[in-house]
């Protein structure tokens, strides 16, 4: 920690580095902060010009997101009871009543099922395939690996029409299974390649030691390789989830009801008298949470390098 160290930056350098990082973070996080702020604005504030930086926070956007509402007609007024909850109050203040739950919750659940489901299968199948490619003599291995990667080389739109037609024939359109299969297929190339890289880095010696210690090949894989591939599996899972979670084009094309995910749904949220921007922003904010939580949960695996040092080089 002395001032003479080659690797330890000086105080001034640390300050400059810190400032740069904070500035960069602010610039890139600006749209995100904007969306989060808009979610807490009233509809009027959300379209005010010049934009309001300081505003009266409101939960109207969130209430609108989760409910459908109808305007109070004169003949309803007689039967109306006073609002019992804070959100009924917000709606009543606009001269409306809650008619029921919106479809956002269900769309969000679809995203969770399809996003995490496809991530699980991508990583599960990807790990097995990557292990086989890494450890065994697979005939035409290089060609197979290239072929797997090549599925990523064309733009997804190129296969949109065939997949659309195929899915209609197979009855997979607008089903959870169909979307999980599709996202798994798209993500597998990424997961096989990423995981093969990680597994290649794990020395063969550990599995050999486990074989000698009386374990079968599969047990050695499960007890010795998997724990050491945790870093790779965690980062691969994050990449797969982010892709499946944010995917828009195929979701628009192939889902409309039962299996519709949140991305195609959020832009369709319409309020009374125009786009309800606070509700859209609220929908986007909540939509961000699962990926964020997932990433934070797996972060410790991303930062851990555990394979160093137990094999003599």
């Amino acid at each position: 920690m002395s001032g003479y160290s080659v690797t330890e930056p000086s105080k001034r350098q640390k300050w400059i580095a810190g400032l740069l990082v904070i500035t960069y973070a602010l610039v890139t996080l600006m749209p995100l902060l904007w969306v989060i702020a808009t979610g807490f604005k009233s509809p009027e504030d959300s379209i005010a010009y010049p934009p309001k930086v300081v505003f009266q926070p409101s939960l109207e956007g969130y209430v609108n997101l989760f409910t459908t509402q109808t305007r109070i007609t004169p003949d309803m007024e007689a039967t109306l009871t006073p609002p019992k909850t804070w959100y009924e109050q917000i709606v009543r203040d606009k001269g409306m009543v809650i008619a029921g739950a919106s479809r956002y919750g269900q769309r969000f659940l679809n995203s969770v099922i399809i996003g995490f489901g496809s991530t699980f299968f991508s990583v599960f199948l990807g790990t097995l395939a990557a292990y086989a490619f890494s450890r065994f003599k697979v005939p035409i291995k290089d060609d197979l690996l290239f072929f797997i990667l090549s599925t990523r080389m064309m733009p997804p739109v190129a296969v949109a029409i065939p997949i659309f037609l195929m899915y209609r024939q197979l009855g997979l359109s607008d089903t959870h299974l169909g979307m999980i299969l599709l996202y798994t297929a798209v993500n597998l190339s990424l997961s096989v390649w990423l995981l093969k890289g990680f597994i290649d880095e794990i020395p063969l010696e550990y599995e050999e030691a486990a074989l000698i210690d009386g374990y079968t090949r599969f047990q050695a894989f499960y007890k010795v390789v998997l724990p050491q591939a945790a870093t790779g599996i965690a980062s691969t899972a994050i990449f797969c989830l982010i892709f499946a979670w944010n995917e828009y084009a195929f979701a628009v094309l192939l889902t409309s009801g039962t299996a519709q995910t949140a991305p195609p749904f959020i832009p369709t949220i319409i309020g009374v008298g125009g786009q309800d921007w606070p509700a859209v922003a609220a929908g986007a904010t909540i939509f961000l949470l699962p990926v964020m939580i997932f990433t934070i949960m797996l972060r410790k695996h991303l930062l851990r390098g555990i394979t160093f040092g137990a094999v003599r080089k």
Binding site: E208, A209, I306
Partner: protein, 332 residues
């Protein structure tokens, strides 16, 4: 414990021949040491016996049963790897317990605690049991690696230079310990080393490997006193055997090209005149470095010798060994 027999084993890696027609028997309860420089095929031999590699040709019998088709687990062998191979995601304790928890052993929890404790004690690593395997020094890793084999009671222990990273004190402690374990359990051990003291002190038999060929197999005494070649003679003995031209002393048999003379087999007093270059007092003995023309040789003398560097001495051979043009032994 078991007898292991290798019959005409050949193994190549691409064009690199690792073992060429090796046959040997590791008798039940024996301590066989394989000697040879790096690349001689020692590790390959252990890997073939363990089942990690398959021979290109030849058979391996464990207790008379052909083992070539068996998996390492079926063979029930324990191995200490040259490169340690500790499981980095496990603690020292878990590393030592790992073989005991395998499906072939399924040891009870109390038994695991007892065995792990016992072995850790023997190897002087009890205080490190809760460390991560990655938080150890090289010598500690090596001891854990030995421990992972010793917790078991396999048909044969395979050990690949298991003491190479230890300091002198520990090394001599563990030499005695391994020998004790082998003797008291009647264990069969196939052991690889560079260290001739380990070979001399522990081996019941020594196998000398030269570029994938087993050139000699016998007791350490046999190989020391009756080597088949300069190569085999050079494997054992420290300081190394002196090699001199055959005409250096009179009396060489026909065809002999060189004389091998162990340091303790040089008599001082009469014969060839040589010059003393250096005198090393080792306490229990003294090493004399001698020189004549371009030839250097080393001999031993008593610890309180008065010989000074520069002094001229006369030497004569005492049990000379003669070798032919290819280094092969010629018996007179």
């Amino acid at each position: 414990m078991a007898e292991v027999t290798l019959n005409n084993i050949c193994k190549s890696f691409g064009s690199q021949v690792a073992l060429a027609d090796v046959s040997m028997t590791v008798p039940d309860g024996s301590f066989v040491v394989l000697l040879g420089p790096t690349g001689a095929g020692k590790t390959t031999t252990l890997r073939l016996v363990s089942g990690l590699d398959k021979p290109d040709s030849g058979t391996i019998l464990i207790d008379g049963v052909d083992a070539v088709a068996q998996s390492p687990a079926q063979r029930n062998v324990a191995m200490v790897f040259q490169q340690y191979s500790l499981y980095p995601h496990l603690s020292v304790r878990e590393n030592l317990a790992f073989p005991l928890k395998s499906p072939i052993l399924r040891t009870s929890a109390e038994e695991i605690v007892r065995k792990v404790g016992e072995v850790a004690e023997t190897l002087q690593i009890s205080h490190k049991l809760d460390n991560k395997a990655t938080e150890l020094s090289g010598g500690e890793m090596q001891r854990v690696s030995i421990g992972r084999a010793l917790v078991r009671n396999p048909r044969i222990y395979l050990m690949d230079e298991p003491l190479s990273s230890l300091d002198a004190k520990l090394r001599s402690d563990l030499r005695i310990e391994l020998k004790r374990i082998q003797a008291s359990l009647g264990a069969t051990i196939l052991y690889v080393t560079h260290d001739q003291i380990e070979a001399m002190t522990m081996a019941t038999q020594v196998g000398v490997l030269d570029h994938g060929k087993l050139v000699q197999f016998g007791t350490p005494r046999e190989i020391y006193e009756d080597p088949v070649s300069i190569y085999a003679a050079s494997r054992l003995g420290s300081p190394k055997i002196n090699i001199l031209p055959a005409d250096f002393f009179p009396g060489a048999p026909g065809g002999a090209v060189s004389i091998g003379l162990r340091p303790e087999h040089i008599r001082l007093g009469e014969g060839q005149e040589v010059q003393t270059v250096r005198v090393e007092h080792l306490g229990d003995q003294t090493r004399l470095h001698l020189k004549i023309n371009d030839l250097n040789l080393i001999t031993l003398t008593e610890s309180h010798t008065q010989i000074q560097p520069g002094e001229r001495l006369k030497i004569a051979p005492q049990f000379p060994l003669y070798f032919g043009s290819n280094g092969e032994r010629i018996k007179s």
